[in-house]
Structure formats: C-alpha cells, structure tokens
C-alpha cells in the first residue's frame, strides 16, 4: 500500500509546560504494569491486612463507646485487663500505634513483593530497547525520567501502604465519634505516612538502580530477591552465631522495620501494653478483680463470664540482647538503620547516574 494516501493535517493544539513531564512517564508505566495479573493479585492480597486494620479500628471505636453492637462479640473482651476495659480512651494512642505498626509490618512483605513485580522492567526494558534517546531527545530531563519511574513504584506502594492508612484512619476516626481522636492519633498517621514515604523512596531508588544494572529484567528480579531474602537470612544467621548488635543491619527489611519502630515509637506502646497486661494478670492472680463496667442505659457490661488472664507479651526485661522476639525493638540505634538506608540511596543514585547516561557523550 502506498503511503501518504491519508494526507497530513497540521496540529495547532497547546503544549503543556515541562514541570509535570515526569507524571506522563509515571502514568504510562503504571498503566503498563496493570496488565500483569500478578500485580492485581498482589494488590488484592494487600487489601486484606487493610481490611483487618480497618475492622480493628471500627471495633476499637465501638469498644470506646461501649456500644451494644458489640454484644455478640463480648467474648473478645473478656480477657482484657480491667484498666483497659474501664478506660479504653486512655489506651487509644497505644493501640492505634500497635495496630498501624502491625499493619505496616505485614504490608512491608507485600511492598517488597510488589516492587519485585513492578520494578524490574522499569529501566532495564528501556535499556534493552534503547529507549533513552526517545526520552532525552524530548523535553524530558534525566531527573524527570527518574522521578517518573520512581513514581510508578510510588503509585503501587502508595496503593497498598499510604491509601489504606488514610482510609483506615478515616474509618477509625469516623467510628470513634470523638473529635479528640485526631488529637490523640495524628502522630500515628503522620508517622505511618512518613514510613510509607521512606519505603517508597528507599525501595524505589534501590529497585531503579538494580533495574539499570541489567537489560534482562529477570536478572533484576533475581537481584532484588537476593537483596530481600538473602540479606534477611544472612542477618539472621549472623545474629544467631556472632551475636552482634549490627547483625540486623545486614537485612534490608530489618532496617526498614527499625525505621518504622522509631517513627511510630512502637516500643513505648509495646511497653505500655506489656505493663498493662502484666498488671491485669497480677490482679487476677490476687483474686481481686474490680468490675468497672456498670450497666447503664445504652451501654454494655463487659464483665460477663469468668475472665481468663491473658498471657502478657514477651517482656522486654526478660529477653536477652540477642534472643529478641518480634515484640521487642532491636537495641541498636535507629540512626544506624537510617545510615544504611541513606547509604543505599546514595549508592542507588550513583548507579543511576552512571548507568542511565545523558546523550552528552560520544557514541
């Protein structure tokens, strides 16, 4: 078929400025990844912890109000310490902190898996198909390119870490029927969002750097798995053999976890809950259990049936430095983890600057 039959029309539309060019790259990349059904499955899977978090916050809000709606669920509250049942609002921040901390802990797994699915092709494919001249010959700077690619990872991680946090916070706020809940818990929200940003920035730049190392996205995926799983295994093995404080620093996810603990100050909440439950257990042992809940109009008496003393979480005082359970924050300073993550960020930036070169060079 001869060409030129269709003619050619001039176009007189308006071109936008350069500031949001990265968003075009992000949109295109995010759209392309949606074709991957594994990405969809991962996102759907990541919604379950968010639903559980939201459910918990709903329950907590109703618990604070001693709502009748909870009557069928009274058995859940029977073993709680009296102090908690008497004044749940006093523990609002603590339990919200622990709930968000636990949620983010689970989401970190989904985040790493999602980065594994979304990230490897971002730059490696562009290198394989030599797409850089197409980008940089247009009004796209390297920083726009990197920001656009990072935006793809940010979009997906945001969907499973940031959006659920915001929604759950809103739901918790709505079900608390107490405007003071914002005063008590805004730090939890800010810390959770900040942690999400840390994960996005750290994992995003790291994945982009790895993606720029190879034109084969499978190799990139393998490197990511190695960094994620192998570093964790190495950290665990070293921790159990040489018992040094710095051992967890070898694990990428342990560093992110340490940052989360520091941001949410979750250790304080853990200690508070531990002390609460230990006090409750002691009271039960002494056979003195006051009944703070009196039946009132519209309220539920939670003191139904014989209470069972809950087992307190692993006490920090009883754990040794190197036989630390998940309930306790590692003893090394969070700044060490921050330094490791910052170092990885600098390394990633250097790799990106080296591997994704501008066109200002000899061919």
């Amino acid at each position: 078929m001869p060409i030129l039959d269709q003619g050619y029309q001039h176009w007189n539309g308006q071109l936008r400025g350069h500031a949001w060019r990265w968003l075009t790259i992000t949109r295109q990349g995010a759209r392309a990844q949606l074709k991957n059904r594994w990405v969809w499955l991962m996102i759907i899977g990541a919604c379950l912890p968010a639903l559980i978090l939201s459910g918990f916050l709903v329950l907590w809000g109703l618990f604070e109000q001693k709502s009748r709606v909870l009557t069928p669920l009274l058995f859940l509250f029977q073993g709680l310490p009296d102090e908690l049942r008497a004044g749940p609002r006093g523990y609002r921040t603590t339990f919200w902190t622990l709930a968000f901390n636990q949620f983010l802990d689970i989401q970190l797994f989904f985040a790493m898996a999602l980065v594994l699915l979304v990230g490897p092709e971002l730059i490696s494919q562009d290198l394989r198909f030599n797409a850089m001249p197409l980008y940089f010959a247009r009004p796209v700077r390297r920083i726009d390119y990197f920001a656009g690619k990072l935006g793809v990872i940010a979009a997906y991680l945001g969907a499973i870490m940031v959006v659920p946090v915001l929604l759950a916070f809103g739901i918790g706020f709505a079900f608390s029927l107490d405007p003071l809940v914002f005063r008590d818990t805004w730090r939890v929200l800010v810390a959770s969002l900040a942690y999400g940003a840390v994960v996005v920035l750290s994992a995003g730049t790291l994945m982009l750097a790895i993606s720029s190392l190879s034109r084969n996205s499978r190799f990139v995926g393998a490197i990511w798995i190695g960094l994620w799983v192998a570093s964790g295994v190495a950290s665990t093995v070293l921790n159990q053999t040489i018992h040094k404080d710095w051992c967890p620093l070898l694990s990428y996810t342990a560093n992110l976890t340490r940052m989360r603990d520091a941001m949410l100050d979750s250790q304080t909440s853990r200690d508070k809950v531990t002390a609460l439950f230990q006090a409750g257990q002691n009271q039960l042992r002494q056979g003195a259990r006051p009944n703070p809940f009196q039946r009132r109009s519209g309220r539920v008496n939670f003191s139904v049936g014989p209470p069972q003393p809950p087992a307190p979480p692993t006490a920090g005082a009883n754990s040794t430095r190197n036989a630390r359970g998940p309930w306790q924050t590692p003893s090394y300073p969070w700044q060490w983890s921050a330094a490791v993550l910052a170092g990885l960020g600098v390394l990633s930036a250097w790799i990106l600057a080296t591997r994704v070169r501008s066109l200002d060079r000899l061919r």
Partner: protein, 345 residues
C-alpha cells in the same frame, strides 16, 4: 573563500576552507503552512563558533553555520561531527564554546523549548517497549506536552499518514525495520514540529522501504512545509530529499549551499550521447585533439580552451553520426562531497 549565490531568496555558499560564511540579511519563507504573509526574519538554525570536545576528541571545532528553512542534508564521513551537531541543535550537550539558535531559541538556555518544538528521529533502533503502535506515538506526544486525548487522536492521524494504520494495534517489538523507522517518524511529527531532524533514517532498510521513507521525508518537506535536517551517509538519499546541503569534516564546516548551486555546470565539459558507435565518435574527437571518455551510455567530452560546441556538430556531420544529447556536465553531489573532503585534507 566563499562563493555566494542567491536562489529564490536564499543565500547559498560554497566554502572551500574553514572560513565561516557570513550570511547576512533575512530569509523569507514562503509557501509553508506557517506563512501568514508576514516576512520572517529568523533563520532556522544558527551556530556560531560551536566547539565541543570529549576528552581528547574534538567533535565540533568552531562550527559556524547558518541554515535557512527548507530541507537540509547533513553530510560527512564517520566522525565528522554530524551527530554531535544534531545533539547540539537539540540542546542535548553542554558546549565548550560558541552559541547558537534553533527556531530563534538559544541552544544554551532554551533547551527544553527547543526539544518541544523540534521532532527528532534518532539513528539507532530505539523503542518505547511493551506498547502498541498507537500507544507508542501517543506516549511520544504526551512527552512533548500534548494532552492525552489530543495525543491519542493525533497518533491515529500520523500513523495513517506514515502508512502504519493497519499495524497500530500491534506491539512495536513485532514491527519490521521499516515499520520501526516509520513509527519513529510518526512519533517525531505527532506534535507537528516546525523542524524535523532525521538522523540516518534509511539505515538498514531495503530499497522499497528506503524509497518510502524518502518519499515521506520529501512530502513532509515540500508539501507540508516542515523544515528538515536530514543526516545521511547516502548521497542519493540527500539528493532525493534535500534542497540544501551541509558538509562536515572533523567537526568543521566544509561546504554549504543549495544543491542546485553546488552542482554547478562545467564550462568546458559536456555529456554527449550519440546514436551510433560512441567509441568511434570518441576516436574522431581524439583525432581533433579533444578528450572524450566513454562513460556509461554517453561520452564525457572535455573541450579545449577556445573551442565551442560547434566542433562536436562538425565532427558528427563528418562522421554521419547523430547527436542524441548534448549538455554541460554538472558536478555530482558525490564529487562535491569528495572535493570538500579533499580540500579539508
């Protein structure tokens, strides 16, 4: 030393040494779609003393060139600085020295604006991966700042124009070499640039595909009013598409001007085609002291000083031969190119 000539309002130069052609005065562009009747005084491209080195390699050495609108062929051997010149035009490189303007925009300070206004077809095989043809072109449009809807609509139009309408929903990785070249052109013209830069657009293409690309480039330039910078090693390609030519060598300007002008007719050399035995006719001319070398289907005749073409008619009359063609010989683009390179050495 420069020999100027003026054709249709354009000023053309043949430059025999590194001296820069000082072109002054306006160029009036007429007949293009942007021509609103007003006189436009800006040149398409102006480079002044542009120097670019990469370590010990000097890619551009004080290059100064002023180009009018139209289709411009960029010629030069490997390492002549063609690609570096193109990159400097697009503001992709930091210049060591010199200045320049493209479409009136400074190549140092308005890089992004230049790239937004110019379409560029890179030499290498390069693709946005994992997209269909129409997405490819629309994405390219969005990257220069088009709205998504405009870009998609325009992508369909230009894909029809370049002859990829039926392949628009195929993944670009499955395209043939020619199709990839055409989709690169489509993505470069999606925002209807005033200037389109094609870097070796016919590389690696079969003759039919090459002819299609040349026809496309010609149409864009001559019928659609788009200015072209057409870089190629293939002189016939440049000749088929371009009106002007720039010859580079070792980062310097060797020659520049309209191809018609550069292919100047020779006063004493003629191409002669006879009906009968051209060898016998050449022998007769030789007997008269005239050099006549058989070339393809004609004779290349060098007349001595003081001799006119009448001697050819006389010889034909004497030998009973018929002259079927008699015309002054013109330099070929290849000769111009080689001559420019030789003068450089």
């Amino acid at each position: 030393m420069a020999t100027p000539g003026t054709f249709r309002g354009r000023i053309c130069y043949f430059i025999a040494d590194e001296a820069r052609a000082e072109i002054s005065g306006p160029t009036i562009r007429a007949g293009s779609d942007w021509d609103d009747g007003a006189t436009e005084f800006a040149m398409l491209i102006e480079l002044n003393g542009v120097t670019k080195t990469y370590g010990k390699v000097t890619a551009l050495s004080g290059l100064s060139v002023t180009l009018p609108e139209g289709s411009i062929g960029l010629l030069g051997p490997n390492g002549a600085g063609k690609t570096t010149m193109i990159r400097s035009l697009l503001g992709l490189i930091a210049l060591d020295a010199g200045s320049g303007r493209v479409l009136g925009m400074d190549i140092r300070t308005s890089r992004m604006d230049i790239r937004q206004s110019v379409g560029f077809v890179p030499e290498d095989e390069c693709l946005f991966p994992a997209v269909m043809g129409v997405q490819f072109v629309a994405y390219a449009g969005e990257l220069v700042g088009m709205q998504s809807r405009d870009a998609l609509q325009r992508a369909h139009e230009v894909l029809d124009y370049v002859g990829l309408g039926e392949a628009r929903y195929r993944r670009v990785e499955s395209y043939s070499t020619g199709m990839k070249q055409r989709i690169k052109i489509a993505s470069a013209i999606v925002h209807d640039p005033r200037l389109l830069i094609l870097d070796e657009p016919t590389n690696g293409m079969d003759p039919a595909g090459r002819e299609e690309i040349l026809a496309l480039a010609r149409d864009l330039s001559r019928a659609k009013g788009m200015s072209l910078v057409f870089s190629s090693h293939l002189l016939p390609d440049v000749e088929a598409v371009c009106e002007d030519v720039v010859v580079l060598g070792r980062g310097r300007l060797l020659a520049q001007g309209r191809i018609d002008t550069l292919k100047q007719p020779h006063d004493r050399q003629f191409e002669v085609r006879v009906k009968g035995d051209q060898f016998a006719f050449a022998g007769r001319l030789a007997a008269r002291g005239i050099d006549a070398a058989p070339t393809d289907d004609h004779l290349l005749v060098q007349l001595p000083e003081g001799t006119g073409t009448a001697v050819l008619w006389e010889t034909a009359d004497q030998t009973g031969e018929q002259l079927r063609a008699l015309r002054p010989r013109r330099s070929t683009l290849e000769e111009i190119f080689l001559s420019a390179l030789a003068e450089q050495d």
